[in-house]
């Protein structure tokens, strides 16, 4: 693992400033600029989640827009004790799943639960720089593991939040995460061995 990659700061969408719950309250109070701060904080992460789930730039863009639109429309139903990030990720994740189901229904396209065995996920991660290799390895994961890893990447080790977004028990989230990491490790180490 390169030192540069290991030491690079984690991108955290929550920056200094008012808390998300305060921004929600301000938006409900008529200050629409507060919502734009929420958009600034989370648009990238929401897009990232949608993109990792759908593998399509246009659809991910639509899902991100749809998620914020739905959140804005139903902001009054947002519980102040909840986390805005969990809420918006859950909306985006469900919208992504809806699109995946629609895709499957109308085009008989297989859901991306598995990487293409012919391409060989381990082969895909070869000849790429470290970050790209990691991305390719994540892309090669089955969908359920990929989503957990993506949320883990976005939110840190907050299993409870990931469970909240996916609507899964926390134990399942931990299991998925463990298996996802195992698979990632295998793919990445195989790539290293082949390279050396």
């Amino acid at each position: 693992m390169s030192a540069a990659l290991a030491e690079a700061p984690r991108i955290d969408p929550v920056t200094a400033g008012p808390a998300d719950s305060e921004l929600v309250a301000m938006t409900l109070g008529g200050n629409s600029e507060a919502f734009s701060t929420l958009v600034e904080r989370y648009d990238r992460a929401v897009y990232h989640l949608a993109y990792r789930t759908l593998h399509d730039v246009e659809e991910a863009r639509d899902v991100a827009q749809e998620a914020f639109f739905k959140a804005f429309r139903s902001l009054r139903t947002f519980k102040p004790e909840a986390r805005f990030s969990t809420w918006i990720f859950a909306i985006a994740y469900h919208a992504s799943c809806d699109r995946l189901n629609r895709r499957k229904r109308y085009s008989n396209e297989e859901l991306p639960d598995r990487a293409d065995p012919a391409a060989g996920p381990e082969g895909q991660v070869l000849a790429l720089d470290e970050a790209s290799r990691l991305r390719a390895a994540i892309e090669a994961l089955p969908e359920k593991y990929r989503t957990v890893i993506t949320l883990y990447h976005l939110q840190g080790k907050q299993y409870e939040e990931i469970a909240g977004v996916l609507g899964l028990p926390m134990g399942t989230v931990k299991t998925h995460l463990f298996r996802a990491k195992e698979q990632l490790r295998k793919m990445l180490s195989a790539a290293e061995v082949t390279e050396s």
Binding site: M1, A6, E7, Q65, L134, Y152, L188
Partner: protein, 127 residues
């Protein structure tokens, strides 16, 4: 064994930059949310207009249900009342007197509403 132990993999994951969203995503989100044009009517206004429309339809059905007889009768009654009022000299005289009194009071009692003082002129500081 490889270099990717649990901590190294965590660090690599957290260090992985997020994909750049397409240009214009944020603008599109803001346009569809906070900068979206307000609806022409509030929900209560739509409900009110609907109720008024329904009432008008109900009235129209009632008025024209008997071949327009009720409608004709109503028009005749209103026409007769107006004609009677306008042809009666004493009524016209009282109406004219009342109007003239109102105009006189507005002109000569200092409560004229014909020349309101502008707020701008009132708030202008004295030099």
């Amino acid at each position: 064994m490889n270099n990717y132990d649990d901590d190294a993999l965590d660090r690599a994951l957290f260090a992985l930059p997020l994909e750049e969203p397409p240009a214009g995503l944020r603008a599109a989100i803001l346009t569809s949310t906070i900068y979206a044009p307000a609806p022409a009517f509030a929900p209560w206004e739509v409900a009110g207009l609907g109720a008024i429309l329904a009432l008008m339809v109900w009235l129209a059905i009632n008025v024209f249900s008997d071949g327009g007889h009720l409608f004709q009768q109503s028009v005749q009654t209103i026409g007769f009342s107006l004609g009677h009022t306008l042809s009666d000299f004493s009524i016209l005289w009282w109406v004219a007197l009342g109007g003239a009194t109102a105009i006189w009071m507005q002109f000569f009692t200092g409560t004229s509403s014909f020349a309101p003082v502008s707020r701008k002129a009132q708030s202008r500081p004295n030099r």
